[in-house]
């Protein structure tokens, strides 16, 4: 399991910009080599859809695609999973769901057949 501790990596309690997500590209790439990638948001108190989207883009670029079976976990996110973060996932054909412990699980969205 590869883990990236976001606060330790970036030193910021509010993760806002795409540039900040890009700044940990190397750490994300190295951690992505394991079967499970955990982004630990302990110490982070605010995060935007822009940051999350860029983090997903960096990981996707590194893996080609979120691997199957996907195991990307956002541990200790600063807020409950809301529709804005779910929308970030939808835009990338990913499902983001909230686990009982409050963490977010990112997985490939099931392919939908046309009607």
């Amino acid at each position: 399991m590869g883990t990236v501790k976001m606060y330790e990596a970036l030193g910021k309690r509010a993760l806002i910009t795409r540039a900040s997500a890009g700044a940990i590209k190397q750490a994300l790439a190295e951690a992505s080599e394991d079967e499970e990638l955990v982004l630990d948001f302990s110490g982070v108190e605010a995060v935007t859809p822009s940051f999350v989207d860029e983090a997903l883009a960096v990981i996707e670029d590194g893996l080609g695609r979120i691997r199957k079976p996907p195991r990307l976990i956002f541990l200790h996110p600063p807020t409950r999973l809301s529709s804005k973060f779910a929308a970030v996932g939808r835009a990338r054909q990913l499902d983001i769901t909230e686990a009982v412990d409050g963490s977010w699980i990112v997985s490939s969205a099931p392919e939908r057949s046309g009607g």
């Binding site: 309690r13 806002i16 935007t48 822009s50 807020t79 804005k84 990338r92």
Partner: protein, 286 residues
């Protein structure tokens, strides 16, 4: 030109109709001198405070000499000084005679008015807000992330889409009144407005005949002037966050205003007063 603001100044939409056509983004529209007369103002809301920053600074870019006349009501004057409005204007070259007005450190002012031009500056401001919220200990702590995120998203929108020649402005305030306690995030720019921003996207150009239509469209998922499939989440996300009991989002862009509350449908109106750019006001009860 002398713009006399109302005694109860809530937002630019409340200004006299005779100023409605005076767009400070248009060179031909500006006289040599612009005076914002607040002397009789006895009550001012955050949305109006930001108009007081944006309008004179845009007029300055057109070569006008600008002055803001300070409220005679000392309480209002002190409040405006505390928000840093006077300093922002003075730094830019607007005349503000605030002699005798003592600013005071207001613990309810989570983030005083700040000017920003880059995403990095927005991130720094959001981190300042996080620290300030923690230090002040006001309101429910589980809302602090939301307050910072809403401010940041609105400010990022300014940097990414507004093309504002004067940058963006914003502040965060906590209100504790008999009517209740709430956080307010207010952000504004002097840019092209939401309608023109969406018109940058060829697929949307025919869908935005009016400012209020453009604002409503911009609040939908994955709608942006860029046309990118992964963009257009920010404003949608803020609107979704505001669809909770007691929360409110007001966006004023050009002559359109849209108010979003917990109800599914937002309310769109045409305003008599123009906002020369875009203003967003989010209110979060705690």
């Amino acid at each position: 030109m002398n713009i006399r603001v109302p005694k109860q100044f809530w937002h630019a939409g409340a200004l006299s109709a005779k100023f409605a056509s005076r767009d400070p983004r248009m060179p031909s529209s500006m006289p040599d001198r612009v005076v914002v007369d607040m002397r009789e103002c006895s009550f001012v809301r955050p949305a109006a405070v930001l108009w007081c920053a944006v309008y004179p600074l845009l007029a300055l870019t057109q070569g006008a000499r600008c002055e803001l006349l300070v409220p005679e009501d000392m309480g209002v004057a002190v409040y405006l000084k505390s928000t840093e409005l006077f300093r922002v204007l003075q730094d830019a070259g607007v005349t503000v005679d605030d002699r005798g007005v003592q600013g005071k450190a207001d613990p309810q002012l989570i983030l005083p008015m700040a000017r920003f031009r880059s995403e990095e500056e927005v991130e720094n401001l959001a981190n300042l807000a996080v620290e300030s919220l923690r230090r002040a200990g006001l309101g429910s702590a589980n809302l602090h992330p939301l307050v910072s995120e809403v401010f940041a998203e609105l400010a990022l929108n300014v940097v990414q889409h507004s093309e504002s020649p004067i940058g963006g402005f914003g502040f965060i305030q906590f209100y504790g009144t008999q009517q209740g306690r709430r956080f307010v995030c207010a952000v504004a720019d002097g840019g092209i407005g939401i309608r023109r921003s969406l018109e940058r996207n060829p697929d949307l150009r025919e869908q935005v005949p009016y400012d209020w239509v453009a604002i409503q469209l911009a609040l939908r998922e994955r709608i942006s002037g860029t046309g990118s499939a992964t963009r257009g989440i920010g404003l949608y996300g803020v609107a979704e966050d505001m669809r909770r009991a007691g929360r409110q989002l007001i966006i004023h862009s050009g002559i359109g205003m849209v108010e979003t509350t917990e109800e599914l449908e937002s309310r769109a109106t045409r305003t008599k007063g123009l906002f020369p750019g875009t203003l967003a006001y989010a209110s979060i009860p705690t």
